[in-house]
């Protein structure tokens, strides 16, 4: 095979389509970034001014300090991270159960999981509020953690089931013959092999919690417990939208999510989930 042909092939089957998708994905984000560096007046003057005439970080400073964004940020981190830990643990356990066992009620369990997704969250709010109130959990971050875990667990479980199923059963059996307990098998043997899947699952779960709005807005009645999405809503007023502030706030909100994913995406590498079976 000739080198130039190789290169051309790669160009058309990899680099070109990749660039197209990246542009599609990034142009709106780039615009958000540029908007966050403009003044409000500039934003309204139209896209004709694509670039800010005098870029300013003022929006960021204002949003972080005056907008109490630092508080919302910390709340979101606490709620999201705690939820993700619970969600991941439960999804590994459930995924393993669904993948390795046949048991009565297995299908029913999957259906029950999916039932949580069949209605928009907004219709659940009144009874949910009353449930949490009865347990004195209303207006605490814990109500959100419980709700998010319940809402994210189903999808995470199904994902993990798929990933765990692709890990050969022989690995479990070999370990069992070596005398390992189920718990060790699940958490010390299978889970490490399912890391790519766990990474994707945790990333989605984190985003689901990080960006959730309606429950955080309704179940929390103290400014000090508001999360980032609710904080962003302050920029969208009854009479106008502070686009520049909204953009700045959103970029701030985006940073942890992207950093987290940038860190964990290195585990989306082939071969980690297989190959340790000697026939």
């Amino acid at each position: 095979m000739s080198k130039p042909r190789d290169f051309l092939a790669r160009l058309f089957t990899l680099y070109l389509p990749l660039t197209v998708f990246l542009v599609f994905v990034l142009v709106p984000i780039l615009w958000t970034l540029l908007t966050s560096l403009k003044t409000e007046r500039e934003v309204l003057s139209g896209a004709a001014h694509l670039f800010p005439t005098m870029p300013t970080l003022g929006n960021y400073a204002e949003v972080w300090a005056q907008g109490s964004f630092s508080t919302y940020f910390l709340n979101s981190i606490f709620v999201s991270l705690t939820s993700v830990i619970f969600i991941s643990t439960m999804s590994v356990m459930n995924g393993y159960a669904l993948s390795r066992f046949r048991f009565r009620g297995k299908q029913a369990f999957m259906i029950v999981l999916l039932c949580t997704q069949l209605l928009p969250a907004v219709i659940f709010l009144v009874p949910l509020f009353m449930t949490f109130k009865a347990f004195h959990l209303i207006n605490t971050p814990f109500s959100l953690i419980i709700f998010y875990t319940a809402m994210q667990a189903p999808f995470s479980t199904l994902l993990m089931k798929g990933f765990i199923s692709n890990i050969p059963r022989q690995i479990d059996e070999a370990a069992m013959i070596d005398g390992a307990s189920r718990g060790t098998i699940i958490f010390k043997i299978v889970m490490p092999l399912a890391v790519p899947g766990l990474v994707a699952t945790a990333a989605f779960a984190f985003i689901g919690c990080w960006n959730e709005f309606i429950a955080a807005f309704t179940l929390i009645s103290s400014n000090k417990f508001f999360t980032v999405p609710v904080g962003l809503k302050f920029m969208i007023g009854e009479y106008d939208v502070s686009y520049a502030s909204l953009a700045a706030g959103s970029v701030i909100a985006l940073v942890p999510a992207i950093l987290l994913f940038a860190y964990i995406q290195r585990y989306l590498v082939e071969g980690l989930g297989s190959g340790s079976v000697k026939g």
Partner: protein
């Protein structure tokens, strides 16, 4: 406690062992926390949806609250024209979004699976639309599609492709496509990342031995890659379809279901009725219909896919 029979090769070659699967208590232990949590969170809401659906309960005439049995359901199915317009809109929305997101997501996943410099950065960037807050996404796309100060019209004008600025979100001809496009932007990363992770579980030896046998990339895609991805695709399509069905935020903020109900899906209609107009009884009946329809579809879908049974389950 051995709850699965040992693999055949360990018990004498060639003998097909009757695989007796005793279900022990272990799986129940594993799923118990989740079941309890879901029961705690969901029980009251589900019951209340069906209970309220049987009532005539509207905040504009609270004093007349009473049980009316299936009257709400009857009214919805026989008298409500808006309901019947939302049905095709919703179907169109779900099929279009899930279909396109799956196809493009798969392509992106395959691309991001290849080795190239800067791959880590590319993957992180591809994640961004999913990671961005919904609050921003809707405002962002509203601004992009804005007839006067929006990015899209500006770009089209600069490229000389349009003479007059289009009112993307207002024009009845373009509104559905515009909202669909915004959602597409947000949804592709979902499939891209999920399928990328699933791709990692394909043993590299299989691909290598296939290459040795001389099969090209297309054969490899259909005979190796897709079968391995089957379970991930089955479940992610199901989840995405359910989520798109129930997606109210984007549509509601961009168009409020309008103009003239062109972008009103069934959940949007339910939300307007129950939450905005305070007609909890009627709105809950709509919710009950949504729930039932999705429930039936889910059970059928899972049944057809054998509940995503893996190859050796």
């Amino acid at each position: 406690m051995a709850d699965i029979a040992p693999a055949p090769e360990l018990v004498g070659g060639g003998v097909r062992l009757r695989r007796k699967r005793k279900f022990g208590w272990y799986p129940y232990l594993l799923i118990a926390p989740t079941v309890l949590l879901i029961a705690f969170v969901m029980a009251a809401p589900l019951v209340s949806v069906f209970d309220l659906g049987l009532q005539d309960y509207s905040l504009t005439h609270v004093a007349d609250r009473s049980y009316v049995g299936l009257r709400n359901i009857k009214d919805i199915l026989s008298k409500d024209e808006v309901f019947w317009t939302t049905v095709p809109t919703t179907i169109k929305w779900v099929i279009l979004e899930v279909g396109l997101q799956l196809v493009f997501g798969l392509i992106v996943a395959l691309l991001l699976n290849r080795k190239f410099p800067g791959r880590g950065i590319a993957r992180s960037l591809m994640f961004v639309p999913w990671a961005v807050s919904g609050v921003l996404t809707t405002m962002l796309w509203l601004l992009i599609f804005n007839q006067h100060i929006g990015l899209l019209n500006e770009v089209l004008r600069a490229l000389g492709l349009s003479k007059a600025p289009t009112a993307w979100i207002a024009n009845p001809k373009t509104v559905f496509g515009s909202v669909a496009f915004a959602e597409l932007w947000r949804g592709i990363p979902f499939f891209a990342i999920t399928l990328l992770a699933a791709l990692q579980t394909i043993p590299p030896e299989i691909n290598e031995s296939c290459a040795v046998d001389g099969c090209g990339p297309i054969k490899r895609l259909f005979y190796i890659t897709l079968p391995f991805l089957k379970e991930a695709i089955v479940f992610s399509v199901l989840m995405r379809a359910i989520w798109e069905f129930n997606n109210v935020d984007l549509i509601f903020t961009m168009t409020n279901g309008g103009p003239v109900y062109l972008t009103t899906t069934l959940p949007i209609y339910m939300m307007q009725t129950a939450i905005i107009n305070g007609n909890y009884g009627y709105g809950s009946a709509l919710a009950a219909i949504i729930f039932t329809v999705l429930f039936v579809l889910t059970v059928v879908y899972l049944g057809l896919n054998k509940f995503g049974k893996a190859v050796d389950e």
